[in-house]
Symmetry: C2
Subunit: 403 residues, 2 copies
Amino acid sequence: MEANYTVSIVDKKKSRLKRGILKEMYRLGSRTLAQLAKALHASVPSVTMLIDELATEHWVQEIGTGAAQYGRKPALFGLRPGNQAIVVVDISVHDVKLVVFDLTNRVLDRLDVNLRLEDSVAFLESLKGPLEEISHRIREHNLNIIGVGCALPGLVDPRTGINYTYKKLNRPEQSLQQLLAHCFDSPVYLINDTKATILGEHRFGLAKGKNHVLSINIDWGVGLGVINNGEILQGLAGFAGELGHIQLQADGELCSCGKVGCLDTLTSASSLVRRVKAGLREGRVSKLAEENFEDIDVELVIDKAKAGDELAIDLLNEVGGELGKGLSIAVHLFNPELIIVNGVVAKAERLITRPIEQAIDKYCLADFRNKLVITVSRLGEMAKLYGTQAYVVQSLLEHEEIP
Amino acid sequence: MEANYTVSIVDKKKSRLKRGILKEMYRLGSRTLAQLAKALHASVPSVTMLIDELATEHWVQEIGTGAAQYGRKPALFGLRPGNQAIVVVDISVHDVKLVVFDLTNRVLDRLDVNLRLEDSVAFLESLKGPLEEISHRIREHNLNIIGVGCALPGLVDPRTGINYTYKKLNRPEQSLQQLLAHCFDSPVYLINDTKATILGEHRFGLAKGKNHVLSINIDWGVGLGVINNGEILQGLAGFAGELGHIQLQADGELCSCGKVGCLDTLTSASSLVRRVKAGLREGRVSKLAEENFEDIDVELVIDKAKAGDELAIDLLNEVGGELGKGLSIAVHLFNPELIIVNGVVAKAERLITRPIEQAIDKYCLADFRNKLVITVSRLGEMAKLYGTQAYVVQSLLEHEEIP
DNA sequence: TGATATTTTTAAAATAATTTATTAATAGAA
DNA sequence: TTCTATTAATAAATTATTTTAAAAATATCA
C-alpha cells in the first residue's frame, strides 16, 4: 500500500486554492487579485501570497494592468506561456495528429501522421515512431509535460481508458493508454472524439458561456456531444450521446453495428456520398456526373451544392432532414439552447443547417425550439484539439495532480 | 438597490461550512465529527465548534454513539427532528397532497385534497382553503417553515416557476408560486413531477448511490426523469427528459400535443386502457369482459393481468415493448446503470419490466445494456414527495438561505 | 481483571488567515 | 497642474484555525 504520508489540512487547502487560481486563469485568461479573491472566497492578501508562490514555481506571471474606470489600475495575472506542455493525440479514422499545447492554448509543436485507425495491433506499432519523435522534440525544447490527452472515436470509458469499439487498443501487453503514459511519462486521459469537440466549442468556441449545448459531428458516422450544466455528459461508462445507433427506420438498411435502420445509415457523410452515387446511377442531372465516379467524395458534393447543383442540394436536404428528425429527439431529451454542427458536412453551412432547422420545427414542441439556435462551428478541426487539451487540464486540476 | 452590507469572509466561510454540515447530515443521516471534518476539509476542533453553534441554533443534536472496532466510540450527530418544517405540495392530474416534512424525512402532517388540476383559475382558488388550513395547523404546532416545494406536471421552469403546459398557473395577478409564497411566507421551489420522483429515488430509494439513472413514470402520459452525475438533468429551462413527445410512428395517432405518433399515444396508462377496450370490442376473450365497460381502468387491467388474463398480459406486453423501444433511445443517449419504473403501471411489476427488458435487448447496443438493471420502484407515491422535499432542502442549502 | 493499543475528545500552543489601517496609483474636476 | 475621489496593493494588528499535546474512553489480549 501507499506510505501513510499525512498531508496537513493547511497544505491541502493551499493546494486547492492554487488549483482554483489556475482553473480561473485557464478558463478566463487574465485575472486580477480581487477577482481571484472573490472567486476563491479568500482575502486579497492570501491570494497575493498564493500568486507569489505560483510565480516562483513558474506557473503564473503578471501579464499587464487591467482597466478601471476610476482609481488605481489592477495588475493582471495569467498563466505563464510556453513552460508547461500538454500533448494532444488526435486519432481519427483518416489520420493522427500530435499537437503540443501550452496552458495558454498556444500550439508549441505539431506533427501530422498519415496513419489510418484500424482495429489492429499494427496501428499502435506504427504510432510509436511519431510519438517518440514528438517526445524527443519536446525534450529538446526543455518543456515540462504535465499531461497527455487522446481523442479517439468509439465507445471510450474515460475511467479505464478502454475503447469498446476498437478493442485492439486495449491489449494488456500494450494498450494505447500504456503506450502514451510510457512515452511521455505523464498522466494520460482518453476521451471520445465527439465529446472532445463539444468541450472545445464550450471552452473556446461558439458555446462559450452557454450551459446546455449539443454538438453534432457528421463524418463517417454521426456523433452527438452534450454539454449539460457546463460539463460534458458522459453517462456511466462514457457512452452517453450515442445518437448514431438509434433506430429511425424499422425497415431500413443494415448498419455496421448489426442493427437495422440506424441514424448512421441515413445521415452520415458516407451515406450522403452513397445517395449521390445512387442518384447519378439513376441518371439524375448533375454537374457531378462530369466527375470521375470514384473521385466523388463529401467535399466535392458540398462544393457542387454550394455552386448550386440541384442533386447535391436535394440530397443535403434529405440528409439534413433525417438528421434533424434524430436531433429533435435529443432536443426533447436535453433541452439545449444551442446546437453546433461540426465535421466535414459542416462546410455546407446553411445548406445543412436549414433542413435541420426545418425538421426541428416540424418534430419539436414549440417551447423547446423557441430559444434554440442552430449554427455551424467556427473552430473547425481545432475544436477537438482544444477540447482534448481542456479535458486534460480540467482532469489534472480536479485530480490534484498539479501543481 | 440593496443595502451594501459587507459580510466578512470569515462569516461567509463559516456559513458555507455550516451548510456543508447540514448537507452531509441530510444526505447521510448521522455523522461523526471526524467524518464531517474530512468531508469539509476542516479540522476536528473547527467542526466541533460549528456543531456546537448549530446545536444552540436547534439545527442539529447528538443522536447516539457510533461503532468503532477499537478505541473510543465517536459521538454521532444528526439533524434535529420535528423542528424545522418543509411543506410539500404534490399536484397531480387526479388530486393534490399537502405534506409537511421535517429535515429527517418524517411526515409531521398531511392533508389530501380531492381537487383535479385543470388549466383554470378556479383550481388556484380551490387550493387556497386547504393551503390555509395546513398553514394554520403548522403554526399551531409551533413549527418553523423553512421552505415550500411543489411538484407538478407539465413543462416547469424551476428558475422562474413558470409552467408552460398549465398556463393559468402563471397569471401575474395570482400565480401558483406567489400563492404558496404568500401562504407560507417562505421560499418556494417548483419542480416537474417526474424530476421530483427520480430525485426521491436517488436520495432515498433504489437509485441511492447510483449516479446515472433513468426513471420512467407511466401515468396519463409518459415522463422520463434523468439523474446524471448524481443530479437531476434539467436542461436550459427545465424541460429536459421529455420522452413522451418523440415520434415513434410516422403514421400514428394524433397526440394531444398536436403532433403525430408520439410515444405518449402508444404507451401511457390511458393508452393501455384504450387498447383493452378496443380488444374487448373486437370480441377478444378476457375476464375483463365480465366487468362494467365504464369501470375498466389501469388498476383493474393490471389486477387481471396478474391473475393471468391473456388479453391484459398481451397488451401490457405491447405497451412495454413500445416503451422499451423509446427507452432504448434514452439508454443510448444517457448511458444509465439503472432504470426505475414508477407510476400506476409499475404495479404490474415483472409484467411490465420484462417486455421493456426485451425491447432494450433488441434495440440497444450490447455495451449499453450489459450492466443495465431495470426494476420497479419500492417507494411508490413517496418517491415524489421525498424528492420534492429533497429538492427544497438542496436548493435552500445551495442558495445560502439557511441557516 | 488489568494492561495496552487505539480512537475520540478537549485544551493549549503555534500557525495562518483575515481585518484594519496605511500607502500607492490613477481618472476626473477645479 | 493640483486636488479629490476612487481603487489597488501592502503592512501591521487582530482574529481564526490548525497543530500538537494531553486526557478520556473502550475493545482486545494476556
